[in-house]
Symmetry: C2
């Protein structure tokens, strides 16, 4: 039976890198990169290219792409949009390609590139992620993007929710995954309330992230599976 | 009001290093270094010198010290004792000085050396640790030694137990501490049972750590406060 491990910070990625070419990675950045990527594809975006620097996104603008850049939770001045899922309406993104740079999510995707599959996970496409993991049936790394290498509650709780759903079909022995499941169980009856105490939510209070939080918790609102392959993300339909 | 942060792996220590000279650090390695240090002092040991390599401990043996060395959970062949609290009876350690090297605990102590105070915490001296932290009233780092940089449940749960006791007198805003408290609350009614699922306990099943686990959970069995200062650990009596 394959197993599930959880990476609770990018700074611990190296402990799980061995044999990564045989593992499926779910990259998790609930507030907000991986949520926003799911929203963009649900609203018709064709491709999302994660880039390291705002300049790289700006360069793609010349080629007709939408350029999206977020730093420290805010849209970088001069860019079409930032990291808020509310920016990615069908009116703006349907049929478009987007170059995106974010504080944590982009980096976690790049770090995972050698994996068997790299999927973009959020509450919005939770069942689609589960289905893909079950059907491929290989070892799983749940990769929490965190906040500048710090552990965060919202990514860990999502990892716990996924691991719990998969616990009958996968071995779960590492303490990080066991902890994630218990934290999810402490949160599940009132996710929004629970996450109100998360440092990330507090950090963004001034940036009106509260309305983003509701979007981030819309479980199974899409069945699209975003796949990171050859350096870019494409929507895979069921 | 000062705050509490929790370092859930030595690999994340660098995120908390700033201003460490104004912070009190509690080094936590429940299975088993910090538990064993408390047992040794409770049984009359005079000093414990944490050293990096077994050779360094062996060198002290020439000077009449007890040499203790653990690697991968086992006593290194040729040494007086390893890392099990059961080795540190009054018969063996009373009035003695001990040079000790362990997989994770020694390293966490060395990393913390610039802090305002470095105290050695375990369930055995929990109230003594709380009293010291309350009376000194500075920012706190709860430093979980982990297992080869991996997150572990037992150290995190102890951090949560401490943080919860101190929550009225300290600000708790970082997600790692909030998570540690919730994990402690999930575990508190059946600590031994809860920790049975921890990877560390499973790792040591073959080494008879189960009997050590009972010792590790003997809350407030001593009021000694081990202090790491000038490179060595001394018992501070109340």
């Amino acid at each position: 039976m394959p197993n599930i491990e959880t990476i609770i910070s990018p700074a611990l990625f190296h402990l799980h890198e061995e044999d990564i070419e045989h593992k499926n990675v779910v990259v998790i950045d609930i507030l907000r990169a991986t949520t926003t990527i799911c929203v963009a594809f649900a609203n018709g975006a064709k491709e999302i290219l994660p880039v390291s620097k705002p300049e790289d996104a700006a360069a793609m603008q010349q080629l007709g792409w939408i350029a999206a850049a977020e730093r420290h939770g805010e849209t970088v001045p001069g860019f079409d949009m930032g990291n808020s899922p509310q920016d990615y309406s069908a009116e703006r993104v349907n049929g478009r390609k987007i170059a995106l740079t974010t504080t944590n999510g982009t980096r976690a995707l790049q770090m995972s590139k050698s994996a068997r599959n790299v999927w973009v996970g959020s509450f919005l496409n939770m069942d689609a992620i589960c289905k893909a993991l079950l059907s491929d049936n290989h070892d799983i790394l749940l990769f929490c993007a965190g906040w500048k290498d710090k552990f965060n509650l919202e990514d860990t709780i999502y990892a716990g929710a996924l691991a719990r759903k998969l616990s009958a079909q996968f071995i779960i022995e590492d303490d990080a995954t066991l902890a994630a499941i218990d934290l999810y169980m402490a949160a599940e009856n009132n996710m929004a309330g629970y996450l109100q105490k998360a440092s990330h939510v507090n950090r963004f209070k001034s940036l009106h992230i509260e309305s983003d939080l509701d979007i981030c918790l819309k479980t199974n609102s899409t069945d699209i599976l975003p796949v990171f392959t050859n350096g870019s993300i494409y929507p895979q339909n069921p």
